[in-house]
């Protein structure tokens, strides 16, 4: 199963590092990352494979959201299918 992690907010040092470290810790493999910065607004989208994850999905969601809360960023972790079903016919 693949999930999409999105991080939105003010750009600062270490966002990508912290999120990917948490993924590595849980054995969640990062497949693809795109990020953009528009006038200080940081948007990172990360596709990850969670099929070998050591922690249950809801715990992973909570721990990544906590990183977001600590840094003042908005973090979403969502199953890939929500985007596929919404935007592809």
């Amino acid at each position: 199963m693949r999930a999409v992690i999105t991080v939105l907010g003010k750009d600062m040092v270490g966002i990508l590092a912290k999120v990917s470290a948490k993924c590595a810790e849980a054995d969640v493999n990062v497949i693809e990352v795109t990020q953009s910065i528009l006038q200080d607004l940081f948007a990172m989208i990360m596709m990850v494979d969670i099929s070998k994850s050591k922690v249950p999905f809801d715990e992973l969601v909570d721990s990544l959201k906590k990183i977001g809360d600590d840094m003042g960023l908005k973090v979403h972790v969502m199953h890939e299918d929500i985007f596929n079903s919404m935007h592809r016919i």
Binding site: T6, D58, M78, S85, M86
Partner: protein, 452 residues
């Protein structure tokens, strides 16, 4: 990988435009719980609901977390209780209401619908007993919702039931006068009631449905409004296209949630209800979509046309996004649950007459309208008869959910809190329809040809 713009669009819909799945409703047949002993029947009802729905709330929460999409309500609809009550000769069906309420609390859902009777052609003993007990049932329970179908295109309108329901609505409000008359807010009078509607207060599990089924109601007025706002200065054809595309995306979310809930609960998927269901939250309003199209206030001349366009486009977009569509499917216009409607009613732009005209082109009907506390039951019956006639002649569902604000007058307000919202009391036409209403009998079913 999915396009990053699409991902950010979805996130924005959830974070800023109130995109959500409004309800996962489990329909449960209780026809196998019929028993001549009412206590035995109630035990069977309680046990079956608890057995079937024990994982409903947890499953909804799990799906919500995994897919990142809010699922606001988890609810249950059951077979019309009048069908069970008919077997319990001479006993008040109120025991069933308590059994339903207890089961709802046990499994953690926030409403249970089906304290209902289908009397479009006439009453059976069970129907009559149930309808008479509705005010008490709604006053003594917290989560039970009630509905009565008093007319249909094929059967006509049962005017005896219309007269009775005017009294029942008043009584339901009177018995809960100390709680903002909330009893009446949990009672819907239908014409052409759908058997698979997941939305409360009118949900019940029709006799043609399977033993158990999952129906899902989507939402998203805020998303549609934002899309129309973004379109800026464009013509009406383009507006219709934008609404269709947006409705497609919203419905796909509901379809995914419905399939996943059905798979995890091992219960067949029934339908998606394609309704734009507003909430009192600012930005989650159907009225504001109409205003975004270019009306100064909801209720202005042009409102019915704008609503017709919206309702049709939502269906066109949604139908393609789902494998089965049913329920009420359309735009809801519940006054007290829609920030824009509340505002328009307070400003005097939206009247009961205009709302009645609007119901001719959209689901569902005169919904969550607070009327003066001294409105007679005959006037309430007159409103029900008019609304049912619109549904009967146009082969569509119409409903009436009126709340007589006991002890209050036009201009004052009732505040129910939560999703039921708050609403200004709207004046009604005081001319008496009493003689007409109290004639009784049935309005014959209308012709289905020679349409003009």
């Amino acid at each position: 990988m999915v396009n990053s713009r699409d991902i950010l669009e979805t996130i924005n819909m959830i974070d800023n435009e109130h995109l959500d799945v409004r309800t996962i409703t489990m329909g449960i047949s209780l026809l196998d719980c019929i028993d001549a002993n009412i206590q035995t029947a109630c035990t069977k009802v309680y046990d079956k609901i608890c057995r079937y729905a024990k994982d409903l709330v947890k499953t909804g929460e799990d799906i919500s977390k995994e897919y990142g999409i809010p699922i606001i309500n988890k609810r249950i609809a059951v077979s019309p209780i009048a069908m069970l009550a008919g077997a319990c000769n001479g006993k008040s069906p109120i025991y069933f209401a308590h059994a339903l309420d207890k089961a709802a609390k046990e499994v953690g859902v926030n409403f249970i619908g089906g304290y209902s009777a289908l009397v479009h052609k006439g009453f059976s003993a069970g129907d009559y007993a149930l309808i008479s007990s509705i005010p008490q049932a709604l006053a003594e329970t917290d989560f039970v919702c009630s509905s009565v179908n008093i007319g249909s295109t094929k059967a006509g309108i049962n005017m005896d039931a219309v007269a009775k329901m005017g009294k029942v609505i008043r009584k339901a409000a009177e018995l809960t006068a100390d709680k903002d008359c909330i009893g009446a807010a949990k009672l819907v009078v239908f014409c052409n009631a759908p058997e698979d509607n997941p939305f409360m207060a009118g949900a019940f599990h029709g006799p043609g449905e399977p033993d158990c089924v999952i129906n899902v109601g989507v939402s998203g007025p805020g998303v549609v409004r934002a899309a129309v706002a973004q379109a800026g200065d464009c013509d009406i054809t383009e507006i219709a296209n934008i609404v269709k595309k947006t409705a497609f995306k919203i419905t796909r979310t509901g379809q995914l949630v419905a399939q996943e809930a059905s798979r995890r609960l091992c219960v067949p998927f029934g339908i998606i209800d394609l309704s734009l269901a507003p909430t009192p939250a600012v930005g989650d309003s159907v009225a504001y979509i109409l205003e975004e199209m270019g009306l100064e206030n909801c209720g202005a001349h042009g409102t019915t046309a704008a609503l017709a366009l919206l309702n049709d486009a939502v269906k066109k977009g949604g139908v393609m996004a789902s494998s089965h569509v049913g329920g009420l499917s359309g735009a809801f216009i519940p006054v007290s649950e829609d920030a824009g409607m509340i505002h328009a009613a307070r400003a005097g732009a939206l009247t009961l007459n205009k709302l009645e005209a609007m119901t001719a082109v959209c689901s569902v009907g005169l919904d969550m309208i607070v009327i003066p506390g001294d409105t007679s039951s005959d006037i309430i019956s007159g409103i029900i008869a008019d609304e049912a006639a619109i549904g009967m002649v146009n082969s569509k569902t119409t409903a009436v959910r009126l709340i007589p604000a006991i002890g209050k007058k036009a201009g004052e307000e009732l505040d129910f809190g939560g999703l039921l919202g708050k609403g200004p009391i709207m004046e009604v036409n005081r001319n008496s329809p009493s003689t007409f209403i109290n004639r009784g009998g049935r309005i014959p079913a209308p012709l289905q040809s020679l349409k003009n």
